[in-house]
Symmetry: none
Subunit: 230 residues, 2 copies
């Protein structure tokens, strides 16, 4: 893969009516979107082959200190509709290394300690602007109407979130699909969600790896920098 491989996730944009978000100064995106097509809603999304290696990943810790979705993954399943069959809670050691689908090189992007709103009825996850603009850049071409981001948890279970910019609140959010993730993973406020991406794959999917978190978070901050030894 070429060095355009900085694209952190597989996505495609769709044209829309809304205004543009603040342009990300990062120029390290673009390209690498395989097989995009327009879906019913008018968003673009992508189909792609099973990842050649692990793409980016999202891990989420909860206070229960156990690894969620620990059973061996069903890697490579990328149908539109995720089966809802793997909300098992098989701890695999809890505070272990939590490398998700094992042995895969990942680059840590950022973490967020989810707020009550993130796991509540609003059905959205606010992505801190700094990280959103760095890792999930939206611009006038990719923006507008939102993106369908493809994620994967550590079992390889696919998750698809709509990602967009809300002009009214000037914030970046994951919306559609997020609530299902919250429910299945039994995410609670205070849990940590960790975004990672595959190092090798240029535009790989983003994995979701659910994992438990230390209840005691690093003191006095909610800022996402809890890169505890990943």
């Amino acid at each position: 893969m070429s060095s355009r491989g900085k694209l952190p996730f597989s996505h495609a944009a769709a044209s829309s009516s809304s205004s543009s978000p603040p342009l990300s100064s990062s120029s390290q995106h673009k390209g690498g979107v395989p097989l995009t097509y327009q879906n019913q809603r008018g968003w673009l999304e992508n189909k792609f082959e099973p990842p050649r290696e692990e793409g980016s990943s999202l891990r989420c810790y909860n206070r229960a200190s156990q690894l969620m979705n620990a059973y061996p993954g069903n890697n490579g399943r990328y149908g539109d509709d995720a089966d809802e069959d793997d909300d098992v809670r098989r701890g695999d050691g809890g505070s272990g290394n939590g490398s998700g689908s094992v042995g895969v090189e990942r680059e840590h992007m950022f973490d967020k300690v989810v707020t009550p709103s993130d796991v509540g009825k609003l059905n959205r996850l606010v992505i801190p602007k700094q990280h959103a603009e760095k890792y999930f850049p939206l611009d006038s071409s990719t923006n507008e109407k939102g993106l369908l981001l493809n994620f994967e948890d550590r079992n390889g279970k696919p998750w698809r979130f709509r990602y967009s910019y809300w002009n009214s609140s000037q914030s970046y959010v994951m919306t559609k699909g997020w609530s299902r993730f919250v429910k299945e993973k039994k995410l609670d406020a205070g849990d940590t969600v960790s975004f990672q991406r595959g190092v090798a794959s240029g535009h790989g999917i983003i994995n979701i790896v659910s994992r438990s978190s230390p209840l005691l978070l690093p003191k006095h901050h909610h800022a996402p920098s809890i890169t505890s030894g990943w």
Copy 2:
């Protein structure tokens, strides 16, 4: 006029981008659209002469047991903007026959007991799918982008509602114009809205006749089958 007169309301379709609603199996629509043109929003609507006889009608009961908009109608006014001058609550006998514009043959289509949402801030009325597809069929030609349906209350006052299909919720709704009706008629949750159409007129307008409802609805059902003697 001819027997294609089964078209229950005067309407015209507009092309749009969204996907089609489930095709109505009813074949008793089509034809009979006079003088359609496309408006600014891209919907098609129709202008037509003042009804030769009463078309379909929509009656709405409220729990106050009085006939709303009982003063003699201003028949034949079909400007785009209805005057807001007739929200009088002159009972004309309350639970009487409520024949609306008197002596006109009407075919009852269906009733709906409006929900809080139907009369609340959402500014829309959900049309139960079964009735929507039977009486207000949208297909690929008439669908897509919505319809402007012309109604008339029992005074002959015209009402124009946008009618469309929401893909995301798989439901049919009246949107634009509905809130004005709710406001003028002082519709409340639990009130009944009755849709009727003229028997004689092939594609007549739909009348809106507001009338009061029995507070006591038929037991244990919310299903619209309260065809109480109309």
